[in-house]
Amino acid sequence: MSEVLVWIETFHGAALPTSWEALGAGKALADKLGVPLTALVLGENASTVAKVAGEQGAASALICDDATLKVYRLEAYAALLTKVVQERKPRAVLAVATTRGRELLAASAADTDSGMLADISSFEAQSDGGITAVRPVYAGKILSDAAVNAGGTQFLTLRGRAFRPNAANAAGSLAITQIAPALSEDQIGTKIESFQEAASTVNLGDAAIIVSGGRGMDKNPKEAPAGSANAAVWKAQDGFANTLQPLADVLGGAVGASRAAVDAGYIPYAHQVGQTGKTVSPDLYIACGISGAIQHQAGMRTSKVIVAINSDKDAPIFKMARYGLVGDLYKIVPAVTAELKKRLGK
């Protein structure tokens, strides 16, 4: 059957918001190819999530909420996706390029000897049946024009925030098909022992606004308490928590950091933006005390609006910024936070 299949990634029985971007991209592809759009929803709460997929443009959904699939496990999910691909021979399989999406589609593509393009920022179906796509490579320093050839199922994982979800339509009709799992519990070698949810999840990939700090965070005028092992580290950590975080909070954004700040121990690695961290493309990126090394630029240069706050007027970050503010970030950032509170009525 010719169709476009989109895996809707869920966590605790709810769809990831970026999954709807994948479904939106899948809808555009299905419409262009003139084939139906099918959502694949596995695990806890699958039928509820599938109904939302219907409102978001899926014509049908394949669901399986068997106990073996309650929580994502590659082994169980990949076996089932591979079975679906072998039986239904979809034209394309799409998902968001998260940790799970990337490994699941790659596993199934390998199982079925299919072509896959990972972490793409745009794509287009060609008249010869192939799909061409743009992949940012070298952490976004250059672009690659890649293609998956016609014939066989084409697997694509999509970069978060690069595609638009469909406008929801509650009147959409949806045909739901229950499918059986491919493996029984005793055939699955992987057992999840525990899951510790992060106290504060750092999801830079999804954030519409990011406030980032760099090496300059150690210029905090506050005195480090007597006995701190390293005054600069204390000052920078205090700055991330009490100067940048409040700005991020008032904007509903996330806190990022440069590699220099992470390497110096100012903030955990999960916050790192750049080539060995996360590549992000928010609507607004505010760089505070970041000089703008090439490997940091690579990770954030596709941000829509970049604001640079730095005491060094010659910092390279100003060359790529839309707005530049030269001065002490510890004076400017609190002033911006206060101004925003006033203007946004918070």
């Binding site: 590659l74 082994e75 998260t98 940790t99 490994e103 790659a106 593509a109 390998a110 299919s114 072509g115 896959m116 990972a118 992949r135 940012p136 490579v137 070298y138 952490a139 320093k141 250059i142 672009l143 690659s144 024009d145 890649a146 293609a147 998956v148 992987t190 057992k191 999840i192 022992e193 525990s194 899951f195 510790q196 949810e197 992060a198 999840t201 606004i209 904007l251 690695y269 060995t276 590549t279 609507d283 607004l284 090439i294 490997q295 829509k304 609006v305 604001v307 910024a321 839309r322 707005y323 530049g324 503010l325 400017i332 609190p334 002033a335 911006v336 206060a338 101004e339 925003l340 203007r343």
Partner: protein, 258 residues
């Protein structure tokens, strides 16, 4: 225990990467280094075999990967091998996975295959998952800690760092594991290690040596391009911090990004 690490060379992450007039990717005179993510995998292989066992590092592709293999040996990996064949395109993930799996099978006694999280240059990790599937082994990605590895029981327990938190999972050995930065602190090669590695002769195997032949690739790369020039006419906002803040917020409200 025999532990295999796959590695490759990548341009230094500080390099300015561009596409030249002839369409080729260039990185000036920046050095080629071991893919930074792989250093964690190499370190973990050494740690996991310190009470007995053997480590082998493998690269797929041309001579550009030689220094990455030598760096691995200098860190303390026992053996190195390179797989190179005119019919092998290691940038094709499916070809990579088939070849890597064949190499592991040829070694025969491997319990654990380690990879760094991804290739920092082309940002690819699908060859890792493909290798696990072609081997038919368990795949554990984003591993931040190997909690226990019991060869007798044939199990491995790891901590994985996912978007929403930490997962502890037990799987059957043999397994393919890809590791994150949190797993360890990679060592620097010792002087003696560097000297020994510089003298090492690294065997090169062909696809025929592995008993496989090349298959047609379902994907291709048509071209590399430089990024469109960022239209960034920077507007410098001056004044007291309060004045700067007021103007900035005006501008941001005008941009409709809030």
């Amino acid at each position: 225990m025999h532990c295999v690490v796959f590695t490759r060379a990548t341009p230094d992450t500080a390099a300015k990467v561009e596409v030249g007039a002839n369409g080729a990717v260039t990185w000036g005179d920046a050095a080629l280094v071991v893919n930074p993510w792989d250093e964690y995998a190499l370190e973990e292989a050494i740690v996991q075999t310190q009470n007995g066992g053997k480590t082998t590092v493998i690269a797929l592709g041309g001579e550009m990967h030689l220094d990455a293999l030598k760096h691995s040996l200098a860190m303390g990996i026992n053996d190195a091998m390179r797989i190179d064949d005119p019919a092998l395109d290691p940038t094709d993930s499916l070809a990579y996975a088939r070849t890597a799996a064949a190499a592991v099978k040829k070694l025969g006694d491997v319990t654990l295959v380690l990879f760094g999280k991804e290739s920092v240059d082309v940002g690819t990790d699908q060859h890792i998952y493909g290798t696990a599937r072609k081997l038919g082994w368990a795949m554990l990605s984003a591993v931040s800690k190997i909690i226990a590895l019991d060869e007798v029981a044939g199990t491995i327990q790891v901590e994985r760092l996912l978007e929403q938190g930490k997962e502890v999972v037990t799987a059957k050995l043999p397994a393919v594991v890809s590791v994150t930065k949190e797993i360890n602190e990679p060592r620097y090669p010792s002087f003696i290690g560097i000297r020994k590695a510089s003298k090492a002769v690294i065997p090169v195997l062909s696809l025929a040596d592995l008993g496989i032949s090349a298959a047609a690739s379902p994907t291709r790369i048509d071209a590399y391009r430089n990024l469109p020039v960022r239209d960034s006419q920077v507007e410098m906002i001056n004044g007291t911090p309060e004045e700067q803040a007021a103007i900035l917020v005006d501008r941001l409200l005008g941009e409709k990004v809030l």
